[in-house]
């Protein structure tokens, strides 16, 4: 059976989000995968050109509409559904964008959604984490009808470049709702690498004690070219903004190096770092659960250790 896959691109209007390239790799695990990526945008050309270069993509569709200036699930879902008929699988990334959108798409298609796909075993069989990653569940869809899925991006490498897929304009006749309106987005602009795709991540917890304390981490991160993450406790306390949160309710990441500083290692935090290649933990409590998963552990006071590491680099 040929798998015909539709992937919904994630982008900010000009730049393609790396999550899309990871969805492409996931889709390539389906037999005889024929991959179409759709770009919903006000003006899609720039993003479509980036998608066309991803190896494995067979075709890029653009859905241009002024209402697509900001990604709103209630607006995008009916457009996606309108072009979904020929496909066996409809995939999006398991990011806040994809999770918001894909379940709405699944509902309109009356199709089951497999959330957080971490491995594909067959066109109908998928593996996914449940219970905050404390169990892995294999599920089987009936094979009748479509399967909708969100792709756990930390489980897949980004597809390589070098492709040159054709780009086609798609036209759909659907009424778009006006009941949902974009007001604003506040995103801290940072020159640091993106947390979700960075090779190195330095993360801080409640122990940093203040937003001031986090500066210690920014300084170390900049020396290492690393992104900065945070535990929920650090975000709740206002030491770090919410987009830095790592874990079950934050970002799920898979860096080469993850350094957890003053983080106890609650299961909800560990969910976010299970796929990190090397985990380093710095904590003054030798019994802290983070040491159970750390490849390299250092017991001690972070306020001494972190500046010392920086001096040694």
């Amino acid at each position: 059976m040929t798998a015909k896959i539709l992937i919904i691109a994630e982008h900010d209007g000009s730049k393609l989000n790396p999550s899309t390239a990871r969805c492409v790799t996931c889709a390539c695990a389906l037999p005889e995968a024929q991959i179409t990526v759709v770009v919903c945008a006000a003006e899609a050309a720039a993003v479509a050109a980036q998608v066309a270069q991803l190896a494995g993509v067979g075709r890029v569709l653009t859905l241009e509409h002024p209402a697509n200036a900001h990604a709103l699930a209630a607006v995008q879902a009916p457009q996606v559904v309108a072009i979904a008929a020929p496909f066996t699988h409809v995939l999006g990334p398991s990011t806040t964008f994809g999770k918001d959108l894909m379940a709405r798409v699944a509902a309109l298609l009356d199709a089951p959604q497999v959330s957080d796909i971490m491995a594909i075993e067959s066109p109908t069989r998928f593996r996914r984490p449940v219970y905050a990653g404390n169990a892995i569940l294999t599920v089987e869809a009936s094979g009748e009808g479509k399967v909708v899925g969100t792709v756990r991006t930390a489980s897949f490498e980004a597809a390589a470049g070098g492709g040159s897929a054709p780009i086609e304009k798609a036209a759909v006749e659907v009424a778009l709702p006006t009941h949902t309106r974009f007001v604003s987005v506040s995103a801290a602009r940072s020159d640091r690498p993106d947390l979700q795709s960075a090779a190195r991540v330095i993360s801080g917890g409640r122990a940093l004690g203040s937003a001031e304390g986090f500066k210690l981490l920014y300084s170390l991160a900049d020396k290492l070219g690393a992104a900065v993450g945070a535990s929920r406790a650090a975000v709740d306390a206002g030491y770090a903004p919410n987009e830095m949160q790592v874990g079950q309710t934050g970002k799920i990441i898979a860096p080469e190096l993850y350094v957890a500083i003053g983080i106890s290692g609650a299961i909800q935090h560990l969910t976010g770092i299970k796929d990190a290649r090397t985990i380093v933990a710095i904590n003054k409590d030798s019994e802290a659960p983070i040491f159970e998963v750390a490849d390299i552990g250092l017991v001690g006071d972070l306020f001494q250790i972190v500046p010392e590491i920086e001096r040694l680099l």
């Binding site: 900010d12 509902a107 089951p112 892995i136 987009e243 390299i296």
Partner: protein
């Protein structure tokens, strides 16, 4: 009547260490502490605060699940919900089934707002709110960390990967909660006594005309792969050396 409908799910408490059953059919739940899904507790808290501010007159809490779920409904009533609806259903309730049942309750109760948790911490599906909004053909605002009601609209700040996004949605709408929306209140003993007298209505999926179907069959549960035990270093210098040896610096 201005009404808010809150959906709750009974789940294994978030503090419990999950163990997969040896036969792979599920996780161990015998003798395990069960609670209201933490995100749903936040949903209920938000509804109660809206009511306390005068933004709603009644908070109705609903669940779809087995008989034992009534314990969590009683807790929700003790927190301050006015009424509870229990839709009896056994086995795995998939998001599409839960949303169809909630839609039936929505048609009956005509709420101005439905607030649900953004995900249940057992199956981690994170779908029900969006599915309900789609079937109802109404707005959704997921991952809410702030919610303001004004003149038939809701202004919702959402925690998204990029930072904080604000949407305006017409009511009625479906909101799903993130952790920073509020901190749920503690239940006081007198409220537990009072909750026993509050109305709890039991319904069934079939009476609502909703089919209990499972589109995704469970093949097996497995424990996650364990990480290899690591090493301990004594100081910053040893740490830097160890990282260099691994080629990470």
């Amino acid at each position: 009547m201005k009404r808010i409908l809150v959906g709750i799910k009974r789940v294994v408490d978030y503090n419990v260490r999950i163990r997969v059953k040896p036969d792979g059919s599920g996780v161990v739940t015998d003798g395990v502490k069960m609670s209201i899904n933490p995100f749903d507790e936040i949903a209920l808290e938000e509804a109660l605060r809206i009511k306390e501010r005068g933004g709603a007159e009644e908070v109705v809490v609903a669940t779809i699940g087995p008989a034992e779920t009534q314990q969590q409904l009683r807790t929700a009533l003790a927190m301050g919900a006015d009424r509870a609806l229990h839709v009896q259903a056994d086995g795995i309730v998939e998001p599409l089934v839960a949303a169809r049942a909630l839609l039936k309750l929505v048609e009956r109760e005509q709420p101005l707002l439905v607030i649900l948790g953004k995900q249940a911490i057992d199956d981690d599906n994170g779908q029900t709110g969006q599915v309900l909004a789609a079937l109802w053909n109404r707005p959704q605002a997921t991952y809410a960390s702030k919610l303001e009601l004004k003149d038939g609209t809701a202004r919702v700040t959402r925690e998204v990967d990029a930072g904080l996004e604000t949407l305006e949605v017409d009511l009625p709408a479906v909101i799903t909660t993130d952790l920073r929306l509020n901190e749920p209140r503690y239940v006081k003993l007198p409220d537990i006594m009072k909750a026993k007298k509050k109305p709890l209505e039991t319904l069934t999926l079939s009476a609502l005309g909703v089919q209990q179907r499972q589109q995704l069959k469970v093949v097996r549960f497995e424990p996650p792969p364990q990480r290899q035990k690591g090493i301990k270093v004594r100081d910053a210098a040893e740490l830097v050396d160890a990282l260099k040896k691994k080629g990470l610096l």
